[in-house]
Symmetry: C2
Subunit: 244 residues, 2 copies
Amino acid sequence: MREREQEQSSANGPIYLRVRDQIADQIENGLLQPNSRLPSERVLAESNHTTRVTARLALAQLEAEGRIYRSNRRGWFVSPPRLVYNPTEDYSFSDNVVAQGRVPATETLDVTTIEANAWLAAKTGLAEGDPIVRLHRRRQIDGRSVLVENIYLNARRLPGIETFDFNRSLWKLMREHYGLELARKQIEMFPTALVDPQAEALGVNAGTAGLYVTRCSRDNEGCFVEFDEEFWLHDTLSIQVDVR
Amino acid sequence: MREREQEQSSANGPIYLRVRDQIADQIENGLLQPNSRLPSERVLAESNHTTRVTARLALAQLEAEGRIYRSNRRGWFVSPPRLVYNPTEDYSFSDNVVAQGRVPATETLDVTTIEANAWLAAKTGLAEGDPIVRLHRRRQIDGRSVLVENIYLNARRLPGIETFDFNRSLWKLMREHYGLELARKQIEMFPTALVDPQAEALGVNAGTAGLYVTRCSRDNEGCFVEFDEEFWLHDTLSIQVDVR
DNA sequence: AAGTGGTCTAGACCACCAC
DNA sequence: TGGTGGTCTAGACCACTTG
C-alpha cells in the first residue's frame, strides 16, 4: 500500500481516474479488442494497489462513457462500435445491422390484443378501449441483447396483423401486405436508466444507463398506425437524422 | 443493525433498491419538490439502518434515472422536468426555455478564430486550414448549468460574425443579418458520460451521464455554415422531432 | 466551524456462472 | 467447485461550501 506514494504517473487526481485512463488507453491502442474480457475486479484492484471498491469506480466510469459493458456475473467486456440508427426512417433493424457488418437477431417475447388505456390513448389519439395489438420483442446484435421494445398497433387499421411472423420486418409487412406508407411520425427520446421489467429482459442490472425512444406513426390520412417504445442500452447506438 | 431482519417491507431485494423506491415515492407524491434538497447521505444511511456506501448506491440509481442530481458538495436535489428540445429546428434556446416556463441564461466563455483541423474538415466538408470561428458557450435553466457547446462557424460564409453579441440567438443573427435560411442539417447524438473539459465547465463530476449532440447546418446551396457540438446533462432534456 | 459529498480502506458473504 | 460480479459493513480522511 505504501508504494502508491511514489507512483508519480500522469494524472495526480483520484486513483480511480488513473485506473480508468489506463484501461481506456488499452482499449484505444487495441490491446483490448471489442467484446474481449477485462481482468477481473480483484485483479485490477491488486495490480493497482487498491481495493475492489476503487476498481469498480473506474469500471463504472468506463461503463458510463459507453466504453465497456458488463454481462451478468461473467465479467466486464469492451463495447463494440455503436449501431448507427435513424429513427425517422421506415427501416429494417436486421438490414441496418447487417449493413454495418454485424449479426442481428429478433425474439418475439409476446403478442397480445389489449384495449387502449389512458396513457396509450393520449399517445396515439385513439379512444380508451380501442383495440390494440401489443408486440413485445427483444433484439440482439452479435448475440448481445441491445434493446427491448413494445409495439402498439392499431388493430382496426391493420386487420389480421396478429397472425403474421413478427420476427421479420414490420415495416415491410405494412408496405407489402397493407399497401401502407407511413407519413407523419413523432419521435421522442431521452437518456434514462433501465429499470425492472426492461432491465431484467435485457439481462442487465437495474439502473443500467439506457436510451428511451418512442415513435408514433400515422398514415397519409393522419390515422394512427403504430406506436413504438424502445429501451436501448446506452452504449449500443448512435442516433443519426438528416433533415430536408 | 440487527433490526433490519424484521423489516419485512415490500421489496425483498437489495437494500439500496428499497431506499431508491422510498425516495422515488416521495418525489412522485410531491413530498420532495423539484430542486429541493434531499436528506444528507449520512442521514439517509442512518434512517435506513445502513451505511453511506449503500445510501450512495440508491442515490446513484435515482441519478441514473434522471430523478435527482447533485450539486458540487452541496447535496442532492430533485430534478425538475426535462426541457423539450427539437434539434432539427432553427430555434432560440432562450425562447424555448421561456415558453416552457423556465428562466434561461447563456454565458459566452470564449470566442476564437481557428483553422479547421482534420476532425472538423471531415465533419464540415471544409478543407484543413480553412478559417473557423469557434464559440464556446454555457447555458443554464433556472440557474442550473445544463449544457456546454462548441459552435464552429464558417468564417468565409459569415464575414464579421465574431464581432456580434453571442449571448443572443445565433439563429436570429444569421437570418436577420446574413439573410440566411438553413437548409440541410445532419444531426447525430448518443448518450455518454461527460468527461473532463465539459464536466468541469458544468461543475459536475467526471463520469456524470450526458447526451452528446452534434448538428451540421448548410445553406440552400449546400455550403457549410455551422457545426454545433452540445454536451447536455442527461436528466435535463427530452428530444422531440416531428417528421414530414 | 460545521456539514456536505468525494474518495478510499480492508475486509465479508452471497448468487450465479463456467468448468 | 472455484471464480466472477453484486451487495454490504464500519469505519476514515479530504476538499469544498455554507453559515
